[in-house]
C-alpha cells in the first residue's frame, strides 16, 4: 500500500486539482494560517477515502468544505481533531500542522488536541443530563478550576441560548428542541475555550429558522474562534463562509470512491468565478 503514496502520482494530481489552493486569488490574505495541511491521505483499511489534499485554514475565518456525498469532506474535518482515531482501521498520512505542530506526530495526545479544537456534530448529541451538566462536562474532565456558574452563563450567552434556558438549567437537555439542542452543543463546545470549532453539517437536522439562528451565531463566533464547517448546503457556504473548499469524488475502476480537493479559494471567487469547470458545474447544480 505505501508505494501508492510515492511523490510521482501526487504531483500529477496536484497539477490538475489543487493548484488554486496554494494561491487564493483574492480576499483576506492577512489572517494567519493556523492549520497547514499538506499531502493528506486518509484510508479506512484498504479504502482510500481522501487523496492528496492540501489546505490552509486561516484564523478567525469560517472555512466551508463543500462537495457531493462521499467526497471525503467530513473525513478531512475529522483529521483536524483526530476524531478519525476512534474509527477502527482508519489511517492518516501526510502533515496536519496546527500552529506548526503535526497533530499526527508521535508526541501529540489526541485528548489535548480535542481540548483546543472543539467539534459540533451533524445530529445534535447532548448528553442525557441537565443543561448545566452538559456545559460543565468538558471543563470538568479537563480539571478546570473556576466558577462553573459563570462559565455556564457565558457559554450559553455566546451560543445565544441563555435567555431561553436560564430558568431551567437543571432540566434535561433532551427536552430542548432540535435547534436549541444544537446551540447547546455549540455552547458545550466553546465552554472548554477552544481555539477552533469544527462543525460537521451542523444544520442538516434542523428546520430553516433554527438554521438561520445557527448561521447568525457562526458569524458572531468567528470573532473569537476559527470555524471550519462541512455543509451539504451550498447557499449556507455562500452565506456564512470566508473561504470555500470544493471536494469531489473520483470513482476508480473497481467502483472505489476516493475524495479529493478540487478547488479552494475565497468564497466570493468560488461562487462567482470558479477557476475550474468541475466546480462551476457543481455550484450551478449541473452535478452532485
Amino acid at each position: 500500500m505505501p508505494t501508492r503514496l510515492e511523490p510521482a502520482p501526487v504531483m500529477v494530481e496536484r497539477m490538475v486539482s489543487s493548484d488554486p489552493a496554494s494561491s487564493p486569488s483574492t480576499s483576506p490574505e492577512s489572517a494567519p494560517v493556523i492549520f497547514d495541511i499538506r499531502g493528506l491521505n486518509v484510508y479506512y483499511r484498504d479504502f482510500h477515502a481522501v487523496a492528496d489534499t492540501d489546505l490552509d485554514i486561516h484564523q478567525n475565518e469560517i472555512t466551508a468544505l463543500i462537495g457531493p456525498s462521499g467526497c471525503g469532506k467530513s473525513t478531512v474535518l475529522r483529521c483536524f481533531n483526530r476524531m478519525n482515531d476512534l474509527i477502527d482501521g482508519a489511517r492518516v498520512e501526510g502533515r496536519v500542522l496546527y500552529h506548526g505542530i503535526d497533530l499526527y506526530g508521535p508526541a501529540v495526545d489526541a485528548v489535548e488536541v480535542r481540548r483546543r479544537i472543539g467539534m459540533v456534530f451533524q445530529k445534535p448529541n447532548p448528553f442525557p443530563k441537565s443543561i448545566y451538566d452538559n456545559i460543565v462536562f468538558g471543563p470538568k474532565v479537563a480539571g478546570w478550576k473556576g466558577n462553573l456558574d459563570d462559565l455556564v452563563e457565558e457559554s450559553l450567552r455566546r451560543a445565544a441560548l441563555w435567555d431561553e434556558v436560564k430558568d431551567k438549567l437543571e432540566s434535561s437537555a433532551l427536552d430542548l428542541s432540535g435547534g436549541q439542542q444544537q446551540r447547546l452543543c455549540i455552547a458545550r463546545a466553546i465552554a472548554t475555550s477552544p481555539d477552533v470549532v469544527l462543525m460537521d453539517e451542523p444544520c442538516s437536522a434542523l428546520d430553516p429558522i433554527a438554521t438561520y439562528r445557527i448561521e447568525t451565531l457562526m458569524r458572531e463566533l468567528k470573532e473569537r474562534y476559527t470555524i471550519v464547517v462541512v455543509t451539504h448546503n451550498m447557499q449556507q457556504a455562500a452565506r456564512v463562509s470566508d473561504r470555500t473548499a470544493f471536494f469531489s469524488v473520483d470513482v476508480g475502476t473497481q467502483g472505489q470512491r476516493t475524495g479529493r480537493l478540487v478547488e479552494y479559494d475565497s468564497t466570493d471567487q468560488v461562487f462567482t468565478a470558479p477557476s475550474l469547470k468541475e466546480t462551476e458545474d457543481y455550484i450551478t447544480g449541473r452535478f452532485g
Partner: protein, 319 residues
Amino acid sequence: MQAGRNVLGTSAPLDLSGDPRRLRKERNVRRLFLSAAVFTILVSVAIVLSLVGEAVAFLQSIASEIDEGLGSLMADGWFPRRDRFDLRTIIWHTLSVSIIAMLVATPLGLGAAVYLSEYAKPGVRRVLKPVLEVLAGIPSVVLGYFALRFITPDILRNLWDTTQQSNLMAAGMGVGILIIPLVSSVSEDAMQAVPRALREASYGLGAKKWHTSLRVVFPAALSGIVAALILGLSRAIGETMVVAIAAGATGGSLLQLNPLYGGQTMTGAMASLAIGSDQVAGGVAAFQSLFFVGLLLFLMTLVLNIGSERLVRRFRQRY
C-alpha cells in the same frame, strides 16, 4: 390493459381468490404453531396452580394437625421432618448467599462489561465474549464442587480457620461466579446500545477514555445495567445446585448469621427434601412445605424479573 384479458394473458375471468389447498395448508401450519404456544402456556399455568394448591394444603395441614399451628412458621430453625418450619431461617440464608453472590458478581461482571464494550478492540472482543459466555455454560453442579473443594479449603480456611466444611460464604461466591456472565453480557448490551454520537460528543470535548466510559456511557446505560443486576439477583436467589452442595446442612438448619457456617437456603431446603435419606413423599406437611417455599421463590423472582423488564423498556424508550 386490454379488456377481457387477465394478468396471465388468458381470457378467463379474473379470479384472485387463491388456491384452496394452499389456504388450508397455511391454516394448518398456523394451528400447529398456535398449539405449541398454547401448550407452553398451559404447562406454566398448571405448574403455578399445583404450587398454589399444595401451598394452601400445607398451610391448612400445619394449622390443623400440628400442635403449634401456624406458629411453626416461626419456630426455632428449619427442620421440616420435626414440624419446625421457620421461614426466617431459610429466607435469611437465601438473602445472605445472594448478597455475597452480588458482591462478587457486580464488580467483576460490570468491570468485564466496561472492558468489553469500551476498551477491547473488536478482535479481542470477538474472542473474549464467547469465552465469557462459555462460563455461563458450566453446569452449576461443577461450580458447587468448586466451591466445596477449592473456595472453602484453599481460600476461606486460610482467611478464617473457623470456617465450616459447608458454609454460606463459599456457596455465595460460587453463585457469584455463576452469574458473572449474565451480569456482564446484559450490561454490555446496554452499554453497546448507547449511541455512538454520545461517545463522539465526549471525545470531542477532550474527555479521556475512562471519563467517557464512566461519566457518559455508564450513566446512559444505567437502567440497563440495573436490570442486569436484578436479573443476576433473581438467578442467585433461585440457584440450587451450588448451595445444595456447598452450603450443606442436610436435614435442616438453625438460623445462622455468620456466613462462614453452614445453613439451608430456600432452594437448598427444597433440594434436601427431595433427595437421599431426607426424602419425603406426598401427604405429609414436610412434603407440602416444598411447594410453599417454591411458591415464595417463584413470587420473589417474578417480582424481580418484572422490575428489570420495566427498567429495560424505559431504557429503550430514552433514545
